[in-house]
């Protein structure tokens, strides 16, 4: 790859950060884009653990949250003593705090890998979350720690009062951190992390301590999570004890996995998608249910995440295979979309009956107005789901055949993209067992 092609995504990122506030200039949109900025850093830092080193943490928000708390305290100390420190450098405090907490906790937990590591990270997460209710001086109890971002040393006339200035601050930090984390994947240590993920035993034989490699990856991930937490503290100007809990730890896992752990772009996609979805959550009260279902479907049928799906198609596109695939997709899309609509109708109508029955049974959804408890509506929804599911299943072999034809021969081309999910190429073209063929094809 030439320097130009390598630089292109980064230039694109810079252009996006500069242009987006002019396209979506409302206050809410800029606020959401700021959230996306530090969510990207957080998700990328998590992917150093999950995607790069292959360890599944259930307590990554500990370093994000503690970074946020230390940043808030640092801002208060800076304001009280009038220290000559400008705001743009303050997130670094959060990063160093994340690193300092990740070092001792990481040393203990990275002694083990696999399931045991997951359990330890969960235990440490619960430990810190429970401590946050005991150590009221540091965590501020129920109310949290409030701070102000405007009372630091001001440079170049930037007060950081308006949200747009904070947006650019977050954008710059997001670029720097993403660049650093990408560079990390290219270092020898970053490559050894992949080796430890793929075959720890062999990595030990080559002479690397897997514990040490996991520990270093953990510290780096903690550092960047701390920066993300610091930016969050600057954005919200308040940090509450909830940020160290199981909720954010689970959310970052969802973001990273749905985006795709095998590719650098994956967590970025996941952070953008989920943060945007979260911000639109007032459309439906059941959005967490949709999120959970999306996650489970991803785990079952697309372990490469969104990025895996997209990059899989990019490879096909370069081989002119899309002309073969698009008609098949179009064919499957009709029952697929109607099945999707049926499930949305089912969940929304149930949600209306169960949660919002006090507002009366009349409801509107996707342009339809109906009584949520009428048997006709329920019958139609059930029929829609069953019929479109049966039709959808019949389209699977067609898609699978098209996919096979589009990719035949491609598997022999060496693939230099980063770790693929444990893919099993299915090139025999048989569509007799539609289920196994489609699961192989989807990957």
């Amino acid at each position: 790859m030439s320097v130009m092609t390598r630089a292109l995504p980064w230039l694109g990122g810079i252009a996006m950060i500069l242009i987006l506030p002019h396209v979506f200039s409302s206050g809410a949109a800029i606020s959401i884009m700021s959230l996306i900025g530090f969510a990207i850093i957080f998700a990328l830092s998590y992917n150093i653990l999950l995607g790069q080193t292959g360890i599944l943490s259930f307590g990554h928000a500990v370093y994000y949250g503690l970074g946020g708390f230390i940043t808030a305290h640092a801002l208060n100390i800076i304001a009280a003593n009038k220290l000559p420190i400008p705001l743009p450098l303050v997130p670094l405090v959060g990063g160093i705090a994340g690193l300092l907490f990740a070092a001792p906790l990481g040393w203990v937990s990275t002694k083990r890998a696999g399931t045991a590591f997951s359990m330890i990270s969960l235990g440490i997460g619960e430990l810190v979350a429970a401590c946050s209710l005991i150590l009221r001086g540091f965590f501020g109890g129920e109310g949290g720690i409030s701070t102000s971002r405007t009372s630091t040393l001001q440079l170049f006339g930037l007060t950081y009062g308006p949200q747009i200035q904070v947006y650019y601050l977050i954008g710059v930090w997001c670029l720097i951190c993403s660049g650093l984390m990408y560079a990390f994947t290219r270092t020898p240590l970053g490559q050894i992390c992949n080796a430890v993920r793929d075959n720890p035993e062999r990595a030990e034989f080559v002479g690397y301590s897997t514990h040490m490699v996991r520990f270093l990856a953990f510290c780096i991930a903690g550092f960047f999570a701390g920066i993300a937490g610091g930016l969050a503290a600057i954005h919200y100007e308040i940090v509450t004890s909830g940020v160290v809990g199981a909720g954010p730890s689970g959310f970052v896992l969802l973001m990273t996995f749905i985006g795709g752990t095998g590719f650098f772009i994956g967590p970025i996609l996941g952070a953008i998608l989920l943060t945007a979805m979260q911000s639109l959550s007032d459309i439906t009260g059941a959005w967490l249910l949709y999120l959970g279902m999306l996650f489970v479907l991803m785990v079952m049928y697309a372990p490469g995440g969104l990025a895996g799906l997209l990059l899989m198609h990019r490879q096909v596109a370069t081989r002119q295979g899309l002309t073969r695939l698009v008609p098949a997709y179009g064919f499957a899309a009709v029952p697929g979309l109607s099945l999707f609509a049926g499930i949305i109708f089912f969940i929304e109508t149930s949600h209306h009956v169960l949660v919002k029955s006090a507002e009366g049974m009349q409801m509107r959804l996707l342009g339809f107005s109906y009584e949520a408890d009428s048997p006709t509506a329920w019958g139609l929804i059930a029929a829609l789901i069953v019929v479109s599911y049966l039709a959808f299943r019949r389209t699977w072999p067609i898609v699978a055949t098209a996919w096979t034809e589009a990719t035949v021969g491609e598997r022999s081309v060496p693939d230099d993209s980063k770790p693929k999910p444990p893919a099993k190429a299915n090139v025999d073209g048989s569509a007799s067992n539609s289920r196994s063929t489609i699961t192989a094809a989807v990957r």
Binding site: G54, L56, F58, V108, S109, K111, R112, G114, T115, A116, S118, M119, I120, L122, G123, I124, E126, L127, A130, C131, L133, I134, L135, R136, G137, F138, A246, G250, L253, F257, A286, L288, L289, L291, G292, M293, F295, V296, V299, M300, Y301, P303, S350, H351, L354, V355, P421, P422, T439
Partner: protein, 316 residues
């Protein structure tokens, strides 16, 4: 003081046995399939809610039998159509699948039964004090909980060690391939063990639901403790899970009853701690206040000094 010791021991024993009902299923599933079922506490919650729903129509007692069976079937179906699909992607994918499942169950329960606790009552038959000791009464329902959990424990032990089914299960734990060669349907055994484990969790839910609170947060609050139990006991070890369940049950119950802080202890030696000093909260916090973190501290300590757990033989 004696009163405190007796009642704390009884409550601790009860809590420990409840934990064991959950931990036994989790341990069986783990040692057989290598899956740490993140959603195990969610099946416990489902048991409580199913029991509540059934009790509204036909009373408490049918729910005691029906709810675990229903949840067990649900668990078996989830194993067959969900877990088995992700099995080929490895253990991380399985753990992620059960994580997502816990997420969905919690959201579903919130949607169906609401975000606040439901009114799951102790049956009239058992709504009286069993005995009174030093002016404190011990409810009969708690005695019933103790009896049910001990009986289940004994039944499980007999099933696993004395029956043919138990022998096959034990063999499938260590040598699934050989058991398959001998003509047993190993995937079916896996499915049934998964369903059975979920059913046990649901049974714990039905007997704990009326005594504790039946609310959507009950899974998220018990789940992490459950993992502490299986990790401290040693992943995959039933006797270890038993000891760890009782130990954590007793430790937590006693800790809640002790209102002593480090500052109180140092005060005995004439050292006064200023509550406003650095980390003053830490010295002033009573043991009752730090009770929630004790299991997690224990987890970290065990993993530091005895990573395979109390009775574990495999290094995970």
């Amino acid at each position: 003081m004696l009163e405190l010791v007796i009642f704390s021991s009884l409550n601790g024993l009860l809590y420990g046995m409840l934990l064991f009902l959950l931990a036994s299923g989790l341990t069986l599933i783990f040692s057989m399939m290598g899956v740490l079922n993140f959603a195990h506490a969610s099946f416990y919650m489902l048991g409580a809610y199913f029991g509540y729903q059934i009790s509204r129509y036909v009373g408490y007692w049918p729910g005691l039998v029906l709810a675990p069976i229903l949840v067990g079937f649900a668990g078996a179906l989830i194993e067959r159509f969900g877990l088995r699909t992700v099995h080929k992607f490895g253990h991380v994918a399985e753990l992620l699948f059960t994580f997502g499942l816990a997420f969905i169950i919690e959201e579903g329960v919130q949607m169906i039964w609401g975000k606040v606790a439901v009114d799951y009552r102790v049956p009239e038959l058992l709504n009286f004090p069993a005995f009174t000791l030093f002016e404190t009464t011990f409810p009969a329902f708690k005695m019933f909980m103790l009896v049910v959990s001990v009986a289940t424990f004994v039944a499980l032990l007999t099933l696993l060690t004395k029956t043919r089914v138990g022998l096959i299960i034990q063999a499938a734990l260590s040598h699934p391939n050989t058991v398959g060669m001998l003509g047993h349907n190993v995937p079916l055994i896996f499915m049934m063990v998964f369903g059975f484990g979920c059913g046990l969790a649901a049974l714990a839910g039905v007997i704990a639901g009326p005594a504790l609170v039946t609310q959507p947060a009950m899974a998220a609050s018990l789940g992490p403790i459950l993992f502490v139990v299986v990790v401290v006991g040693g992943l995959g070890s039933l006797p270890g899970a038993f000891i760890a369940s009782l130990a954590i049950g007793l430790i937590q119950t006693f800790a809640v009853a002790i209102n002593v802080s480090i500052a109180d202890v140092t005060a005995l030696f004439g050292i006064k701690v200023d509550p406003n000093s650095f980390a003053g909260d830490l010295w002033m916090a009573t043991i009752a206040q730090v009770a929630p973190i004790i299991p997690y501290l224990l987890l970290v300590l065990v993993l530091m000094f005895r990573p395979q757990g109390l009775m574990g033989n495999r290094d995970t």
